[in-house]
Each structure stands twice: as structure tokens, then as C-alpha cells.
Symmetry: C2
Subunit: 339 residues, 2 copies
């Protein structure tokens, strides 16, 4: 056994995250106690919400402390087990953080500790069948309540969550329009993921295109972006529309408060609802979601993309790929292969 490489939070970010926000550290490999396992991280998950965890403000999870290992979901392998439910070599999902090794138990971290189902590769466990897929599933179905024939608009539509949300809407019989950045992502949405149409927010007039592509207006808007895209979508909501607030990546690196949409009164005119959620509230029902998601994948109805970076040294830079739009689907980083 070797040293435990770690990236810890060195200082809180102002604007875009840089390598200076983190410090590289080498620590001793920890020892598991009774009821615990020693894990080696294989794949790290990168999610826009992690940017918020770096801020010193009240939120749905406590901030990562200065000097603490950066929090992140991961797939890991059991090196040593002192828990009866886990054996050496098992692949597990947990909140592993930006490090090689950690000690965990079923109650530890946001995600707890759960064995990957047989045959599920780590990349799938961290994408469609992971937090992002579950976020899409519960956000769309529980808050969005899409009905067959309704129009569903998705922002961040080529991302890990948006792409799954849009495809579930399509599976449920909705007309689905996605908003994404660049022609490649838009082509993937319509040609592979089966969206009815895509809007390239880097090239198109988003407000005008929503109007053209959603002639019956928007019944469900699944929003990962916020800002001007939320405002444009609100211009086109239908009566009794549901705006599912999943995220607001457009403001996560803002250095000053970014004003919200000027047209919230459209929620009144249209008797519409805007609602936020956090997927951790649904974790006790994840089996139901995973069963549906697996079935849709097996039927060829649900496609996904995974962007796997490599190298421990690249961890800090990989986070920013989410905010520059460079990631193609779910952003992961491989630290090691399973042994």
C-alpha cells in the first residue's frame, strides 16, 4: 500500500474555479475500524452542484471546509472489509471525494455506501443509474408530471441530467425540445437521443426559437441553467405549466448576484408553478427509478454519453469542463481500473 493522494480545498473560489483553490496533499492510507471498509476510488463524479459546496454559505449540505478533501461522488473498490456486507474486490458507490483511499461505512457521506449491482459498469453507475439519472427521473416525473402529448422543454439538454430528463419525457409520449450549446450537442439530441428539436443557445435566438418549436407552448420546463434561458422559457409557458428548477449553472461562477427573470408574473397569468428539488430526498426510492432506467436502456430507448478524463493531476481542471460546456454528457475522471 502506498500514500493517499488528496486534493483539499485550499481557498474558496471567486468566479471560476482554478487550481489555486485546491492543494495537493499526501496522507497516510487510513485504517478501517469495525463495521467499516477501506476503499480505493476508481472513478470520480463531477456535478455542477459541487461548485456550490465550495462556497461558505448555508445550503442543502454543509460547505466543504478549508483543508478538507473536496467532496465528490465516486465508484470505488473495497480493499479491506471489516463490514459483513462487503467483500474485498467489491465495487461500491459512495461519497469518495478527491482522493485515492477512504474509509467508509453504509451510513457515511451523502450517498452512504452501496454495492454496484452485478454487471453495472462504474461509468453507468455514475451517470444514468447514478445521481444525475435519478435527478432527471424524479425531477421530471415527480415535479414535472409530464402527460402524453404535452410539450417538454429542457435546458442543459445534452448534459448528464438534462439528456435523461428529455428522453424520459419522450418515452412518456411528450414532444421534447432541448436547449444545448453547439451544433454537435444539438445533433446528438435529435439524431441519437430522439428529441423532437434542439436549440443551440450559442447560435440561436432562444426566445424566438422556443416560440417556433413549441407552437402549443411549454407544459414542462426542466431547467438546469437559469438566467436568460429561464426568462426565455417563462415567455412561452402554457396554462398550468410546471417549471422544474433542477439547477442554475449559468450563475454558479458568478462573482455578483445575477438578477432573476423579469417575467415571473407569467407564472400568475398562466397559473403556473416553479419548484425546486434535491435528489437526496428521493434516495429511499432509488430502486424504483433504477429499475425503470435499466429497462429503458435495455429496450434501446435511453441513450447517454460519458466523458471520462484521466489522471489524478487533472481533477481540479475537470470540474471546470462543466462550466465551459466542454463536457460531452456525464463528466467523470478515472483514477484507476478495478483490480
Amino acid at each position: 500500500m502506498t500514500v493517499n493522494r488528496q486534493w483539499v480545498l485550499a481557498k474558496r473560489p471567486h468566479g471560476m474555479v482554478t487550481r489555486d483553490n485546491f492543494a495537493y496533499r499526501e496522507a497516510a492510507v487510513p485504517e478501517p475500524g469495525d463495521g467499516e471498509v477501506l476503499l480505493r476510488n476508481l472513478y470520480l463524479s463531477f456535478d455542477p452542484t459541487q461548485r456550490g459546496w465550495m462556497e461558505d454559505r448555508e445550503s442543502y449540505l454543509p460547505p466543504v471546509g478549508i483543508g478538507e478533501v473536496m467532496r465528490a461522488g465516486s465508484v470505488a473498490q473495497v480493499v479491506t472489509s471489516r463490514h459483513p456486507d462487503f467483500a474485498e474486490g467489491d465495487l461500491v458507490q459512495t461519497t469518495g471525494g478527491w482522493q485515492d483511499y477512504l474509509v467508509a461505512s453504509p451510513g457515511s457521506g451523502v450517498m452512504g455506501l452501496s454495492r454496484l449491482p452485478d454487471g453495472v459498469p462504474p461509468t453507468l453507475a455514475l451517470s444514468v443509474l447514478g445521481v444525475t439519472g435519478l435527478t432527471a427521473y424524479w425531477g421530471l416525473l415527480d415535479l414535472g408530471e409530464p402527460q402524453p402529448g404535452q410539450t417538454v422543454l429542457v435546458s442543459g439538454a445534452a448534459g448528464a441530467t438534462g439528456s435523461v430528463a428529455g428522453q424520459i419525457a419522450r418515452i412518456k409520449g411528450c414532444r421534447v425540445v432541448g436547449i444545448a450549446g453547439g451544433p454537435d450537442k444539438c445533433r446528438w439530441l435529435t439524431d441519437v437521443a430522439g428529441f423532437d428539436a434542439a436549440i443551440d443557445y450559442k447560435a440561436d435566438d432562444v426566445d424566438q426559437r422556443i416560440g417556433e418549436l413549441c407552437p402549443d407552448r411549454v407544459d414542462v420546463f426542466f431547467d438546469n441553467v437559469g438566467g436568460g434561458i429561464l426568462e426565455a422559457a417563462l415567455n412561452h409557458i402554457n396554462m398550468h405549466a410546471r417549471v422544474v428548477l433542477c439547477g442554475g449553472i449559468s450563475a454558479y461562477n458568478a462573482t455578483a448576484p445575477i438578477p432573476g427573470p423579469a417575467n415571473l408574473m407569467n407564472l400568475v397569468v398562466m397559473r403556473a408553478r416553479m419548484e425546486g428539488f434535491i435528489v437526496i430526498d428521493y434516495m429511499d426510492r432509488s430502486a424504483q427509478a433504477v429499475a425503470d432506467l435499466v429497462a429503458w436502456m435495455e429496450q434501446g430507448l435511453l441513450h447517454h454519453q460519458v466523458d471520462v478524463q484521466e489522471g489524478f493531476d487533472n481533477i481540479p481542471d475537470t470540474l471546470n469542463r462543466l462550466f465551459t460546456g466542454r463536457n460531452i454528457g456525464k463528466q467523470l475522471l478515472k483514477i484507476a481500473d478495478p483490480e
Copy 2:
């Protein structure tokens, strides 16, 4: 019978409404056809939403056309009846508009045509038992879902709708904090209407005071104002809070779009909901609301204030009292006494 005095919309407003936006006109008194009644307006209702009706934009009702009589709710008296359900001298509620006389039938206008219950004075029919009271009732109870012991915050709390919403919340066992303009309105809220506390937005730091006066955070925010007050309230919402969007008077006279709150992500962090509604969707259930409101008034649990201006010539200026905060409770204007 005399001429029919009218105020018609002459040009659309830019910013605050002025007398120039209307033209005074004298028309012939209309003749009722079969199934219709001729009405004489007694009291006109002034509501913030009427400002929106003057704009040429899609909304929940068509705009008032240039040259058309300005739309307004009213209590009127039947002059001539050619409908079996109405007799001469009956007091009715309808969408009478800014004029002396009109022809109406049960299906006419937004409000239809309904007889005032025996013993209900016109001022009550147009305030607590009218559109504003029903708005408070359905918005608070149907969307806000207040539970005993929860904290309810109301903006525009001394206004016709906010004051009723807050008192219903108090009746339902909630802690109620109101936001209003000026010490007199705040004193009325706590000393007469039984609010637990009041915030004077003209003198206090609203954000800070909400934090102090709502130590358990805000479970229901009933908003009539929008803008900075909405943003301040969102800073203090509790888990699973309901933000009832009733109105946004702070922006109704804006000459350029006013940005929305920068902290909509608090809806995500708190798994909270923001929802708009229009009371006309609840009109088929108004008997239920009126029964409760009457009972609460008879028990001395529900207080209200009515601000009755007089004089046909004062009609245009009276609308602006809502936007300068000069009105004390429900804004009405008396054109004539019943005969």
C-alpha cells in the same frame, strides 16, 4: 334618464397612469334586450391588476381596447330588468366599468352578474366578500396550504387582499408577519388585524427584519409585491415553503423590465414551490369561500378597511392611489347611492 358618463382608454400608459390615458365621453344610455338588465353603477372597484389590463399584451384577460370603457368590477343597481332573475332596484355585482350605465346579463364580463346577498352592503361585496377577499382565501388556502404553527409572511399586508390573507392565516393558527408601508398601516396590522408582527418596508431593512421576526423561517409567503421584497423573502424560506404569487405591484408601472430575484436557487435548496393563480379560476367555488368569510366576520375574527373616494371625475386618479400606497385597505369609489 340622463346621459351615460364614461371614461374610455385613450392611450396606453408608459409608467404611472395619468388622466391623459383616459378620455371622458358621454354616450347614450343603452337599452337592454331580452334576458338583459340595464344597470346603474354605484361603486367601482380598483385593483392593481387593472393596470395590466391597460397594456397591449397577452394576459389572462384581453387588453382593454383603445376607445373602450375602462374595465372594472362594480356594484350596480338594476334600473330596468328584462331578465326573470333580476328586479328593478336589485343590487348586483358585475364588471361594470368606468361608466354610469351598462347593459348586462348573467354571462357578461369577467364577473358575470350576481345579486348581492340580502344585507350585504356594496362596500363589503367589493372587498372582503368580493374579488380581493376571494383572492386571499383561495391563494392562501389552496396554494399556500398553511398549517397550524407555521409562519406566514404577507407583502402588501395592509391592502385589500394581503390583509385578508394574513388574517385567514392567523385564524388557521399560523404565526403571521406582514409587510406594509408606513407606521399607520403597520399599527393597524398588529393592533386591529391581529398580525404577530409588521415590517415597515419604507423604514426597515426588510431582509433583516424578516430574519428577526421569523426565527423558524417562512413556510408560506403570500406575495402581492414582487421585486426586492420577494427576493428578501426568498432568503428566509423554510424547507418545502410555498411562495404564493398573487401579484407584483412593484413592477406594474415599470417602463422597462425589472429583474427578478437573484436567489431563485433558494427554491432548490429548500425544495420550495412558487406558484401563481388567478381568482377567476375559483369563481365556481365562491359560495364556499363567502360562507367562511362571513362566519369569520360575524365572529369578529376578520377585520377590513375600505377607502371610499367619491366623484366621477376622480375615477382616473383613484387608480393611482393603489400604486402610491395612499389607499387604506380596499380602494373603492362611490358614484351614486342606491335609490
